[in-house]
Symmetry: C2
Subunit: 286 residues, 2 copies
């Protein structure tokens, strides 16, 4: 019994902390009463936990309101910047922004969403409300479609595979059959386009990073839809960037391909045979 | 006794989680053995906690290595973007970057460090290794000196007030008396300069955001030290940006000044009398 207490209690506390922090995803500032309502935790234990989280600077308190705190900002930043993919990509992302002038994104797949690891842009960046650590439904974005088309898990991606797809705009892909058709096209050309499917007025061009059946991420350029040259002029620099990132990531370790597979297992990607280092990127980004 | 168990255990677990996550600040990937060494936790309970953190996606596991995970990236990003100061500042930061062409930072004080809430820059940004959520010793940066000079807590800032100041470059301010002299000058002019004090070859110009005795943040432009016009040509746009941010922050709430005081109490700032809304920014940024 004592053993059971010891083994179960820390996990229960972790789950409660996670529940409390998740409550802040959306509304921002919350009172104790709101947190109690959102989490279902007893008021007294919620209050004790909140005060401890304030002391640890995971939260901060403004009068009766609680907000996410500075230590989470720091840990989030460390998480991004310790990421090997991010490190391998950064110089090439800056170069792509410099040569195209458009906003550059690096994103990975997480469930049915993409999460942005980097966003680089000049004045244009302000007009595009994406952010590092932010997420979008994968099928609404060029980066998401580029990864889905090259992840070898298209059919089994969603448990409720029959339901309609959520839409971000009236141009978002709304049916699975249209998505399948689109992904086949993307796989054929190695490049994904998005025209106002996630944001009105914005278009993107994306290429997958990784092996042909094992994209680990994608890179894109985004800008005003009417300036995005959907006649493929942006495809070459985006593809070259994806290729350079993948080569740089592989060059950083003698066993990158299997490492990447382990790393992205939580994304639900299937295990592919290990490709020769020289062959893998070429097959992705041709 | 039971009550004591209930009240003490969750806090102890929180402290252990915090200790575990802090261990990743610096080295990046860690094995279980390294985490046990760094935290002093028993191996079995460390292992259980790590696996739970992986399940919650606060960490991710690659073979035998653990890394900070995607949920921390997300929470960190949410923390930054829910921040009222960040929200009030963002359009003006983009405008300052557009008009000057230099890299723009927004930072707050945390203990004796500054923490960056935003960084906006074009090609130049890649040459300056700061990042959102990253920190620097306040006295080595223009933003830090701007806040310190206007925070009304200069004398009591550090517990070990007699010790030498840490240096980032050979130009960093190294003694408290030189810092005091510098802060008096900054308070007089309402603007802070930094010439290669945090990074070789880089210079910055910063202005405090807030009341004259109660800076809550600072904004700066940074670039190559030889292009930073230390003859004060950059002072006006930086000051105007700080003023516009403060006005926007005040405009967003009928009771912003006291709210800000509460919010930044953890930064050790002293409580000042509430200034008239129209008077406060003018006094800061003239």
């Amino acid at each position: 019994m004592t053993l059971e207490m010891e083994t179960s209690t820390p996990n229960a506390v972790l789950d409660r902390v996670s529940l409390v922090l998740d409550a802040f995803d959306g509304p921002g500032r919350l009172t104790l009463a709101q947190i109690v309502r959102r989490t279902g935790l007893p008021r007294s234990s919620a209050h004790r936990m909140l005060e401890r989280l304030v002391a640890l600077r995971w939260l901060r308190r403004q009068g009766r309101d609680y907000e996410l705190g500075i230590r989470l900002m720091e840990l989030g930043s460390i998480a991004v910047h310790q990421d090997r993919l991010h490190e391998a990509a950064l110089p090439f992302l800056h170069e792509l922004h410099r040569t195209t002038g458009f906003v550059v994104h690096l994103a990975i797949l997480d469930g049915s969403d993409v999460v942005y690891l980097e966003k680089i842009g000049g004045t244009l960046a302000a007009a595009i409300p994406t952010r590092v650590g932010g997420r979008q439904p994968a099928h609404c974005t060029a980066v998401g479609k580029a990864i889905l088309a090259h992840s070898g898990q298209v059919d089994t991606r969603e448990p409720e595979a029959g339901g309609p797809l959520p839409q971000k705009t009236r141009y978002s892909i709304s049916t699975r059959s249209r998505l399948e058709t689109e992904l086949v096209k993307i796989r054929t050309h190695g490049i994904a386009y998005e025209r106002e499917e996630s944001l009105p007025g914005i278009g993107c061009v994306a290429a997958p990073i990784g092996d042909i059946d094992e994209a680990v991420a994608a890179v894109s350029v985004c800008g005003p839809a009417d300036r995005m040259n959907f006649d493929h002029r942006l495809a070459a620099p985006v593809r070259m960037t994806a290729l350079a990132i993948w080569r740089n990531l592989e060059g950083g370790s003698g066993r990158v391909v299997p490492t990447l597979q382990r790393r992205h297992q939580h994304l639900g990607m299937r295990r592919a045979s290990v490709s020769p280092i020289s062959g893998a990127p070429t097959r992705v980004a041709r």
